[in-house]
């Protein structure tokens, strides 16, 4: 018999590739990612095609307050039941995902850009600029967001823009504070001095040498913030200071069912959008934790 050394090597690539693939995949937080894709991203993009009914059009009186399919009287026509106007709850949740995603992305970007730039400037230049910006941060952190939102809504009327404005208003200061702290340690490292020694401008030092070094922190913070943004948007919508009716925003869906929860007739109205919020926020938080561990320079072995 020939020397059978090649055998494992021949069988190897196939099995090896599969197991390597499995190992590779298991390094990622699969559960939160799957939940986000299924509950948030696919519905947000494909809502018109996958939602069984129109989210806003009346379903007709006979269809009012249908319970979900597994409860008594439920049908497969309306898997999660219907609301007071006979609208399919599942369809409304699916369409609502789009607003969740839009609000959180735009808020994260806008407040991130404002907060990160101000944090970089405050940390890098120090002195009175730092004082000015950081006292600003303190002021903004002291403003009660919900009251501000209610005040704005009563004066301007509820709109998508107001929601984004209010949430950005609160959020930028967190970025500024975190980034400033990081910059304070990074700017004293020798590579910053070295860049200055060879004649780099302040702008160049900030953009090329400091910003990339705080980027990990920004990504982690942004991911952890998404959950907070979604919650805040839901709270504002619940209070009527958020996205105006009849848009199927998730917070609004929860709020629409609130009298019926007490009477016990329409618990499905509030429960399912609530579950969607919990799942998405939880997933974002898990993802953020994972990213934080992953991007921690002490644990990084590139």
């Amino acid at each position: 018999m020939e020397v059978s050394l090649p055998t494992p090597a021949q069988a190897g690539p196939q099995a090896g590739r599969v197991s390597r693939f499995v190992r590779e995949v298991r390094r990622y937080p699969l559960i939160p990612i799957t939940i986000l894709i299924v509950v948030l991203i696919i519905p947000a993009i494909f809502a018109p095609w996958i939602a069984p009914y129109h989210p806003i059009d009346d379903g007709g009186l006979p269809n009012r307050l249908k319970p979900p399919v597994w409860a008594e009287g439920g049908t497969w026509d309306h898997v999660l039941g219907t609301d007071k106007q006979g609208r399919d709850i599942l369809s409304r949740i699916i369409h609502g995902a789009k607003y969740v995603l839009m609000v959180s992305l735009s808020v994260i970007f806008v407040s991130g850009i404002i907060g990160v730039s101000l944090g970089l400037i405050a940390g890098y230049f120090g002195g009175w600029i730092d004082n000015l910006i950081m006292r600003g941060v303190d002021v903004f952190l002291a403003i009660p967001a919900i009251l501000l939102a209610l005040a704005l809504v009563t004066s301007r009327g509820p709109s998508f823009g107001v929601v984004i404005f209010v949430i950005c208003f609160i959020l930028w200061s967190r970025y500024a504070r975190q980034v400033r702290g990081e910059v304070l340690t990074i700017k004293n490292q020798d590579f910053v001095a070295r860049a200055r020694v060879v004649g780099a401008s302040h702008f160049r030092v900030i953009v090329r040498h400091i910003l990339p070094n705080v980027f990990n922190t920004i990504i982690v913070l942004a991911t952890l913030q998404v959950g907070f943004v979604i919650l805040l948007e839901a709270i504002l919508s619940f209070l009527g200071a958020g996205i105006p009716r009849p848009t199927p925003a998730w917070g609004l869906l929860v709020s629409e069912g609130r009298e019926l929860v007490i009477s016990g007739k329409g618990w499905q109205l509030s429960l399912f959008p609530g579950v969607a919020i919990v799942l998405v926020v939880l997933s974002f938080n898990l993802l953020g934790d994972w990213l934080r561990d992953r991007l921690d320079p002490k644990q990084r072995n590139l």
């Binding site: 230049f125 490292q189 590579f191 020694v197 060879v198 004649g199 070094n213 590139l302």
Partner: protein, 353 residues
Amino acid sequence: MTARNESAMSEPQQDVPNPNLSRREMGVGDVILQVRGLRTWFYTRAGIVKAVDGIDFDLRQGETLGIVGESGCGKSMTARSLLRLVPRPAGRIVSGQILLEGEDLVTKSEEEMRQVRGKRISMILQDPQTSLNPLYTIGNQLREALGQAHRGNSKSMVRRAIDALRSVNVAAPERRLHDYPHQMSGGMKQRVVGAIAISCEPSVIIADEPTTALDVTIQLQYLRLLKEIQENTGLAIIFITHDFGVVARMCDRVAVMYAGRIVEQGPVRELFNNPSHPYTEALMASVPKLEERVEWLYSIEGQPPLLRDLPPGCRFAPRCPEAREQCLAEYPSSHRLSPEHTAHCWRLDTSWQ
């Protein structure tokens, strides 16, 4: 004490060597850097910290000037002041002149200073581990330095970067360009930092304790490399250290700093043979000697003064074994021991006896 009082009381300017005179006398090379009465102060909540408080020195082409002194005596801040990179906003150059080839750097705008940094004065920082940005390849960081001085296409930049690495004896520079700092050893990194510093062909390099973070075998190698570069290019080097062995090996002249001032300066040999300031004597005495067996190593009694609360007289007086009343009252003026050797000490004054 107010700043005005302080400076009025101790203006040792009249004895500063005339640069034109010393050039003719010495003939080592042209004076390219003259520092006159440089003061860099930090305005903190606790008071004014006088990190550099009126120092004068000259630097000639091709020469190495050592600046020695204990930690916190203002060596590094002197170096940073020369590049106008004093940490802001607390730090400020309050007075003095830094004349680089006759141009005063103190009065230059930030934009003009950027044309000086790297191209005419450069600096090697203490810690190679943090002197390179961990996120970029060293080729990238070399090109950043080169890009400030030269315009050129990327191909010629790469060639210049490779040349710079070759000049500091990095093996296989073409491949090393693509390495990240963490893939290199400390000695290698410090050589790369050196390559970045000399890449734009400055006339002055400030080396701020460049070998402190390296292990002893690499230190010697690095010092030799610096010497070699100096011989090839005619660089003037300001070498900041607290190691007298390195001073003896590297420097032509030494300036001894204490509490923000230069207390003694002169040619290495003269200063070593004839230390004239008690602080210099004490520093040399505290270098352990191999051939002697002693119970106790010598150390200087007491602590250096707080730079925000300096004594009115000689700053070393509280620790000086020979201090008299006049030392505590007034700062001594400069005394010339030889054409090149000066010291600030009352002992050298005619009134001492």
